[in-house]
């Protein structure tokens, strides 16, 4: 069995090979838009999944495995950047999750993208993404994590801008890339600073540079030598990176716009896998955050604020996919919040349950959009449950799970709830309850508006949904119903916090009262949503409030940048070049002067040349004195 752990790098490699075959084939017009590319991608993900599952089983059986293999990629002087892979429970679980959702999304795409002119390119990008994401979660050190951190951002750019001929899509891709780049700046600077400050530590350790496995000691070294201040600064830089990738305030603005991407992409990248990379980074850098209460506080504040803010925005939104996008921001805020509180396992657990549930919701939403021929406004829908019952019930399952009423989401949410109460902070608990109500409220509002109520006349004819799409959705329903239950500590299977924990097993056994309380709160949200949709009222209040942050970026930050750039351009055109131009004019002037010296009288030339010679002599003589 250890074979699968030794060779886990084959998982991303399969996808890379699929990508290379598709892209070269595409370039030489060998199999443009043929089904081959889809099957290639599918089989690569499937093989990856099989490997991942077997590796996971091996990790599950053996206690607390930590397997690392690296080779030197760049090495100059004492500095050596390593490349390789690392398997522990977290990365093995992540690989399984990524491959599984990738596979289902790819199956879904076979139906969804069927008539797209660039069908095989789409699968090529998906394969590239799977490669980058798997390597990201398998990274043994920060440096490699950075490499693939950028690679997944690149894939996200390519896939958001997949329909690049649409102005909105091309703009959204641009925006996503730039905002993510701000985070990358934080990551790069944080990594460089961290690496250099602890450089002496790594030289003496036999582990590779910036390795995750030795982060603990490196952080202690950093704190001892440079003080807690440096820990806070470096931690904030990493937090910036996480905020950009995981769409937290103030860098969440790219995620709602990223819904311009084809729906399978939204499900895979912008809900289930890439956006959780920020949380994954927090988990990997946990030793750094843990030593400073200030940092943990910052994570909590950002998490809870985003969860609340985006929850409210989701309430105002009328675009089906964008509601889900705001909900993703909000749920990622939950995970930040949990990790900031020290509930490491609970945060990660929620990450998994959310990924499955949100992928399910997006794919179900994709079915709706597909069936309605691209319409996404929830007020133009209604009563769709009778038209497509399977999709409706799947969506309902996802909604129930995500709002923590039952199924997987229930388990992970209870864990976080427990942690909040144990922290003893009454304000946090109240806010958490409010977000719980809010989540149930906006999710059920969408469900009631889209699937229940009166049938909307403008819906018209509904396209039939291909089997591949239904298959993916149904499989995800099964997983997102069972996943939490299986890892909730029943039947002698290890519970989630026994499987993935940081320093101690957190062992959440939520008390009965808390469970009742949380379910009641969520139910109140459901009832509120039901009443609202029954009354047929729309929430118009502060509807445009959600664009405040966008407005700030578009009208303040980018304006300032434009003005500065124009100023520099002016300097470049008129001042830098102007000086040169004036030099040219001076030469002209001087030549005018010299020309006026010329005369017919030979005596003038004699005097001039003698004078010049004397001058030269003096200068040269002076030089010699100077040097000898």
């Amino acid at each position: 069995m250890s074979f699968f752990v030794d060779y886990i790098w084959l998982v991303p490699l399969f996808s890379l090979i699929a990508f290379l075959i598709i892209s070269t084939g595409n370039m030489f017009v060998l199999h443009r838009n043929s089904r081959i590319s889809a099957y290639l991608t599918l089989s690569s993900s499937f093989l990856g999944l099989v490997f991942g599952v077997l590796a996971f089983i091996y990790c599950y059986i053996s206690e607390n495995i930590w397997f690392e293999r690296t080779f030197s990629w760049i090495s100059v002087d004492a500095l050596s950047f390593d490349f390789g892979f690392m398997v522990d429970n977290l990365s093995a679980t992540m690989v399984v999750m990524v491959c599984f959702i990738s596979l289902l999304v790819q199956i879904f795409s076979m139906g969804y993208m069927k008539e797209d002119p660039e069908y095989s390119k789409f699968f090529g990008y998906l394969a590239l993404f799977n490669f980058a994401m798997c390597f990201l979660v398998l990274s043994p050190n920060l440096f490699q994590a950075y490499i693939f951190w950028e690679m997944v951002g690149l894939c996200s750019y390519l896939l958001i801008g997949f329909w690049y001929w649409k102005n909105s899509a091309s703009k959204a891709a641009y925006k996503a890339f730039i905002v993510n780049r701000v985070g990358d700046f934080g990551f790069l600077l944080g990594m460089v600073a961290f690496g250099i400050f602890t450089f002496n530590y790594w030289i003496n350790s036999d582990l590779s540079f910036l390795s995750f496995s030795d982060l603990n000691m490196a952080v202690f070294y950093l704190k001892d030598v440079f003080g807690g201040y440096s820990v806070v600064i470096i931690g904030l830089l990493f937090l910036l990176a996480s905020c950009a990738k995981s769409a937290q305030f103030p860098l969440y603005v790219w995620l709602p716009d990223a819904m311009e991407a084809p729906t399978p992409v939204s499900a895979l990248i912008h809900a289930a896998t890439m956006v959780v990379a920020g949380v994954f980074l927090l988990a990997r850098m946990y030793p750094l955050f843990e030593v400073s209460s200030l940092l943990m506080g910052a994570v909590v504040v950002i998490g809870i604020f985003t969860a609340l803010l985006c929850g409210v925005f989701a309430l105002f939104e009328r675009d089906l996919k964008r509601v889900l996008a705001y909900s993703t921001c909000s749920q990622l805020g939950y995970m930040f919040f949990a990790i900031g509180l020290g509930a490491y396992s609970a945060g990660i657990f929620h990450m998994f349950t959310h990924s499955f549930a949100k992928a399910l919701l997006f794919l179900a939403a994709g079915c709706v959009v597909f069936a309605l021929g691209g319409r996404q406004d929830i007020f133009e829908m209604g009563g769709l449950r009778k038209r497509m019952p399977v999709v409706a019930y799947s969506f309902l399952a996802g909604v129930i799970s995500l709002s923590g009423l039952f199924f997987s989401g229930f388990y992970s949410k209870e864990c976080i709830f427990q942690a909040v109460f144990e922290s003893g902070n009454i304000w946090l608990s109240v806010l958490f309850c409010a977000i719980g109500i809010l989540t149930a409220f906006y999710l059920f509002r969408v469900y009631f508006l889209v699937f229940e109520g009166e049938e909307n006349r403008s819906v018209g004819e509904v396209r039939s949904i291909p089997f591949s799409m239904i298959f993916s959705v149904c499989t995800l329903v099964v997983v997102s119903v069972l996943f939490g239950f299986l890892l909730g500590g029943h039947f002698g299977i290890k519970s989630f916090d026994e499987l993935i924990y940081y320093s101690f097993k957190e062992g959440y056994r939520p008390s009965f009262l808390l469970v009742i309380l949380s379910v009641c709160l969520s139910l109140s949200g459901v009832i509120g949503a039901y009443l609202l949709s029954k009354a047929g009222k729309r929430v118009y209040l502060f509807e445009n409030l959600r664009f405040v942050v966008d407005w700030f970026y578009e009208n303040v930050v980018s304006r300032v940048f434009c003005i500065v750039s124009k100023l520099f351009d002016f300097v470049d055109r008129y001042i830098v070049y102007g000086v040169v131009y004036i030099c040219g004019l001076l030469v002209n002037l001087f030549s005018l002067l010299l020309r006026s010296l010329s005369s017919k009288n030979i005596g003038v030339y004699v005097v001039l040349s003698m004078g010049w010679l004397i001058l030269l002599f003096i200068v040269l003589y002076g030089f010699k004195e100077l040097f000898v």
């Binding site: 370039m27 760049i74 950028e150 780049r181």
Partner: protein, 494 residues
């Protein structure tokens, strides 16, 4: 038998340059065929050097000395080390690509054009190999003549003015270099009684008076700074690029800018390491100004070729940052950046040439939606643009990374504190680069562009070769690092 001869490497293009005037080459087809074959042979020969070069054994460092002007201590002496080898390989490659790419860009005086290109190649290689200051200077000046003609005859727009600007700027810079060379030559003679231009003697001699060292350092820096270009001395570059034909821009950005970088390393750093330490922070700050200033200016340009020209300046800033770090890591980053920028900028100018041939405009507001009709060009451009942005696993990343790491472990405290400013380039580069991609390839396609030609075979060959090298050096940086890294490590360990 010695099959590796440096003088042959310089003579080969010179001979080709002359042979083109044989009456036999009377059709365009023959001329192009000959030019391509000759450049390919040169490139293959160059690869042989690469294959047989062993950075760890001093014997393999080739050198050739021929007597020339003995009374003045001037000899025709050439030598090869890691940095000059990698630059020379880049030169040979970029020239081959530019010659292949010239097919549709050059419509008249083909014979003269290719002859000038070969002359330029010989001059550039001469600068990289020269081991004698006089020879170095001679080749440095020689390179101006073909370049002047290449811009002023085959260019567009205000081509004569731009060519003149290029010529005067570089010439103005070289006057300072000439003064510095003569100053060193004279001082060396006065102090040791030995008349020599050999780099080993006048370069590695340490007992010059302080003032001479400072003056010579600044003189050399100005000459190389014009070529690189360093920001206040850069205004020749955008206009030269805009008015030159695309293949000439490829050579200009891909190779000629590297002369400045090479000179900074070869002369300023290796001759005056103790002076360089004092100027390190200044070099570093100039680098940061290059990065930030040029990125901002590039963003507001409407001409895409001007944007790419400014991006060149910005990327050369990273080179300066690495150089200012003054340690092996930063230096390796700087040299890597030089090589990768040679590939990236020639790729970008190639793309702009292809677009210009088809649309006859370079104004970003008049372009749009080309991705739909030119998918092949679009995807290859994306790779080059991402390399330019510094996405990992493409060639732009290792250079950038090592430069910043190097700056962070610099011994100069000020340098360490301002690295973050240089990293602003990480955010700024995609702002203008992706804006350009979006403007040219994204959005709605104009009616008049619906029936433009697809990518030609020779264009595909050029782009794919460039992209292949970009990916290769990005995925496995060690492939080129091992050529120059040992030498740099060696230099800094002394």
């Amino acid at each position: 038998m010695k099959i590796l001869s440096l003088s042959a490497l310089i003579l080969l293009p010179l001979i080709s340059s002359g042979m083109l005037f044989f009456p036999f080459f009377n059709t365009i087809r023959k001329i192009r065929c000959f030019a391509q074959i000759s450049a390919s042979i040169h490139f293959l020969y160059m690869l042989l050097f690469l294959a047989m070069y062993n950075p760890f054994s001093p014997e393999s460092a080739l050198s050739e000395v021929y007597k020339w002007i003995e009374p003045l201590g001037i000899s025709f002496s050439l030598s090869l080390d890691g940095i000059s080898l990698i630059c020379a390989v880049l030169t040979s490659f970029v020239f081959l690509m530019a010659i292949v790419a010239s097919k549709h860009h050059i419509k008249e005086h083909q014979r003269f054009y290719y002859s000038m290109v070969f002359l330029l190649q010989a001059a550039v290689l001469g600068v990289f190999f020269a081991h004698d200051m006089f020879l170095f200077f001679m080749f440095w000046e020689l390179e101006l003549i073909p370049m002047y003609f290449l811009i002023s005859i085959w260019g567009s727009g205000k081509k004569e003015a731009s060519a003149m600007k290029f010529l005067l700027y570089t010439f103005g810079g070289s006057i300072f270099m000439l003064m510095s060379i003569l100053g060193l030559y004279y001082c060396h003679y006065v102090q040791t009684g030995m008349l020599t231009m050999d780099m080993d003697y006048i370069g590695l001699y340490n007992d010059y008076p302080e003032i001479v060292k400072y003056l010579a350092f600044v003189g050399f820096f100005v000459a190389f700074g014009v070529k690189l270009p360093v920001v206040p001395l850069h205004s020749w570059l955008p206009s030269a690029h805009v008015d030159a034909p695309a293949p000439v821009s490829m050579m200009l950005a891909g190779v000629l800018l590297k002369l400045g970088g090479y000179g900074l390393i070869r002369v300023n750093l290796f001759f005056f390491p103790d002076i360089f330490v004092k100027f390190a922070f200044a070099v570093f700050v100039l680098g940061i100004i290059n990065i930030v200033y040029a990125s901002c200016v590039a963003f507001v340009q409407s001409d895409i070729k001007r944007q790419v020209a400014y991006s060149s300046i910005s990327h050369m800033g990273i080179f300066l940052v690495g150089l200012g770090a003054l340690n092996a890591v930063g230096m390796c980053g700087a040299v890597f950046q030089m090589v990768s920028h040679g590939l990236i900028s020639s790729g970008l100018f190639m793309v702009i040439g292809m677009i210009y041939l088809r649309t006859h405009t370079r104004d970003i507001s008049l372009l749009g939606g080309l991705g739909k009709v030119l998918p092949g060009i679009y995807y290859l451009t994306l790779v080059v643009v991402f390399a330019s942005i510094g996405i990992p696993l493409l060639s732009g990343f290792p250079g950038e990374m090592m430069s910043f790491f190097g700056a962070f472990i610099s011994e100069n405290e000020l340098v360490r504190h301002f690295v973050f400013a240089g990293m602003a380039g990480v955010i700024l580069t995609p702002v203008y680069m992706l804006n350009m991609v979006r403007g040219v390839f994204g959005g709605v396609l104009f009616e008049k562009f619906k029936k433009i030609e697809r990518m030609h075979v020779h264009e595909a060959v050029v782009m794919i070769s460039i992209v292949f090298l970009i990916v290769l050096t990005g995925v496995y940086p060690g492939s080129i690092m091992k050529i120059f890294a040992p030498m740099i490590e060696n230099f800094f360990s002394i």
